[in-house]
Amino acid sequence: MAAPMLEIRDVHASVGDKPILKGVDLVANAGEVHAIMGPNGSGKSTLANVLAGRPNFTVTQGQVHYMGRNLLAMKPEDRAREGVFMAFQYPVEIPGVNNAYFLKSALNAMRRYRGEEELDAIEFLSLIEEKLKLLGLDESFTKRGLNEGFSGGEKKRNEIFQLLVLQPKLAILDETDSGLDIDALKIVANGVNMMRSPERTTLLVTHYQRILNYIQPDVVHVLVDGRIVKSGGNELAHELEKHGYAQFEAAAKVA
């Protein structure tokens, strides 16, 4: 059997000196969608950033394997080139750097890495045309500075736009549904569903059961105080919606 897409074993991680993750275990196979839910500050973004390789997020214990390879030994840009994508909870602005130019540079960096021919401007434009339409984005969107002055919802849509163009194998979406109106939510969900395939895996960090009505997860995990305290099917999300995290937080304290 092929190695799982992602295998997280007993990961402990600190941000600066502060321990945040306290033993995370999670296995996701190709083709699956996993939702990760949990209260504010429980470590969801920390987990996402650890997988993406953000500096100063130090893994102090445990292992992560990505398609059987030691993910933690790879440089952040190489993780990206190998197909790990993170949609940021708070995408940064880079003024003056054209949105489309940025994405083209990213795509070509990945293509070079894989030994593929780079796309020229015309090929790139035809590639993005339909994705823009799909996300209901105007072409003028590509001409602006990267996230420069974008509204919160536009930033999130831009992350999904990049996801669709870069076609990663493992997509980690950190609260991409937060701050979206209901129409945008459907559009984004549609985008994520389009990426669903037997070769791809999605980790969906969210606070709301709402998006799971559109994207059916295979597994739902509850992360509390740096640990996954419960995993289950979609019904777990409904339960959380009703009762909140109180029962798990109490349990976490005991543990």
Binding site: A52, G53, R54, P55, N56, K75, P76, E77, R79, A80, R81, F85, M86, F88, P91, V92, I94, P95, G96, V97, N98, F102, L103, S105, A106, L107, A109, M110, R112, Y113, G145, L146, Q162, L166
Partner: protein, 481 residues
């Protein structure tokens, strides 16, 4: 893992590509300055008596003046008697078709073609090596339109009336210490005159190169755009790497008459010194334009990456009604470089407009000061100014300082000023890395984004050059194209 910290460290190992010395035999006047030296310079250049007198008068002013100390730069004393004020290559061609081969080879190495069929086909080049102009291309073609484009010395011989009329019109001999020194000893430079109604069909460009040791370079540029004319002019400069500091004190005077437009772009890449601050050019330059005509416009664009010390404030005096002044500048300091630069916009005519866009990038231990003055005199009704002045810091040992001076004596003036200081953040770099882009390429991209408003004002082929130059001076060579 390459972190932002490592990128910063890499930036310290700057490389300068034009640091070699060409083996050209030169005729040098011995070091030191006095009236005899000035007479000797004038004699060798076969100048008319009035110009010698003008030089001597300047020298007498200079002797009474003191080096300005108000700028935010520190450097050891300059020994004005230890400098040679004139160096000329010995082998001499008489026209662009007879450039001595060793000089041609040197310019080829710099990528500056002195042949008219050369790479930059749309650009006429005047090449100045140390104290003299060695070649001017496309002269004949320009002459057909009545455009005069030649070395300064040649203009003195061929168009003495024009030179005499305008020399010092913008920058008086006693304007400041360095301008006075330049007026006394200037050796060569470029001269351009665009006749009424003529749109100059190509970029005019001067390429300055310091080659000889222990010499200063004191060039003088004078450009006159007569009524209704248009010209775009570009200067570039490089120098060899030497352990001693070399002095460069230039004067540029621009004049725009009614309805004329004059664009002046600079790509300054003098040797900046090594990473510990040894050697490098001291660049003390006076650049000023007078938009004397109605509806005239003068625009400065500059990209400064070189020099150990830069002291430079390209300015515009808007005298004509509806005249405009613009300044677009990018200045980069890395390692131990220091720059105190900016601009001065003086509004005199009615409805005059000025725009200032200044972008400073500091890296390593580089220190950068923006000094900008906007002056709106009484009677300059309807004057408007827009200033934007941004600093980008790479690392935490460099610095950026901003001193805007505003003096408004007419109540109808409208002023707008924006300023920002930002750091290339870890989070920006990480965002790029997460999209497969290396921190080096990401920094490059962020820097270019930051400079975009200025690059957009450069002639196309030079915008590309400028972009590359910044990558090299910050030592950010990567693969993003």
């Amino acid at each position: 893992m390459v972190s932002a910290e490592q990128v910063k460290q890499q930036l310290a190992g700057q490389e300068y590509k034009h640091g070699w010395v060409a083996d050209i035999e030169e005729d040098i006047i011995p070091r030191g300055i006095n009236e005899d030296v000035i007479r000797e310079i004038s004699r060798r250049k076969e100048e008319p008596e009035w110009l010698l007198e003008w030089r001597l008068k300047s020298y007498r002013y200079w002797k009474e003046m003191r080096e300005p100390k108000w700028a935010n730069i520190t450097y050891g004393p300059i020994d004005y008697q230890g400098i040679s004020y004139f160096a000329a290559p010995k082998a001499k061609g008489t026209g662009p078709k007879e450039i001595p081969p060793e000089i041609k080879a040197m310019y080829d190495k710099l990528g500056i073609p002195l042949e008219e069929q050369g790479l930059l086909a749309g650009v006429a080049v005047d090449a100045v090596l140390d104290s003299v102009s060695v070649a001017t291309t496309f002269k004949d073609k320009l002459a057909e339109l009545g455009i005069i484009f030649s070395s300064f010395s040649e203009a003195v011989k061929e168009h003495p009336d024009l030179v005499r009329k305008w020399l010092g019109f913008v920058v008086p001999q006693n304007d400041n210490f360095f301008a006075a020194l330049n007026s006394a000893v200037f050796s060569d430079g470029s001269f351009a005159y665009i006749p009424p109604g003529v749109r100059c069909p190509m970029e005019l460009s001067t390429y300055f190169r310091i080659n000889a040791e222990n010499t200063g370079q004191f060039e003088r540029t004078l450009i006159i755009a007569d009524k209704g004319s248009y010209v775009s002019y570009l200067e570039g400069c490089t120098a060899p790497m030497r352990d001693e500091h070399q002095l460069h004190a230039a004067v540029v005077e621009l004049i725009a008459l009614d309805d004329a437009e004059l664009k002046y772009s600079t790509i300054q890449n003098w040797y900046p010194g090594d990473k510990d601050g040894k050697g490098g050019i001291y660049n003390f330059v006076t650049k000023r334009g007078r938009a004397v005509g109605r509806n005239s416009k003068i625009s400065w664009t500059q990209v400064e990456t070189g020099s150990a010390i830069t002291w430079k404030y390209p300015s515009v005096i808007m005298e004509g009604d509806n005249s405009q002044g613009e300044f677009y500048g990018v200045a980069v300091v890395n390692n131990r470089q220091q720059a105190d630069t900016g601009t001065k916009m003086t509004h005199i005519g009615k409805n005059t407009r000025s725009t200032i866009i200044s972008k400073g990038i500091s890296s390593g231990f580089g220190q950068q000061t923006y000094r900008g003055a906007v002056k709106i005199l009484r009677g300059a009704t309807g004057a408007r100014n827009y200033s934007q002045c941004d600093s980008l810091l790479i690392g935490d040992k460099c610095g950026a300082h901003t001193f805007p001076y505003i003096e408004v004596m007419d109540p109808s003036a409208q002023m707008e000023h924006e300023a920002s200081t930002s750091k290339i953040g870890e989070d920006q770099l990480f965002y790029c890395q997460q999209r497969g882009i290396t921190p080096e390429d990401a920094t490059n991209m962020i820097v270019n984004g930051f400079c975009k408003k200025v690059f957009n004002n450069l002639p196309m082929e030079f915008a590309v050059e400028a972009q590359k130059l910044i990558v090299v001076s910050l030592n950010l060579e990567g693969t993003v194209g």
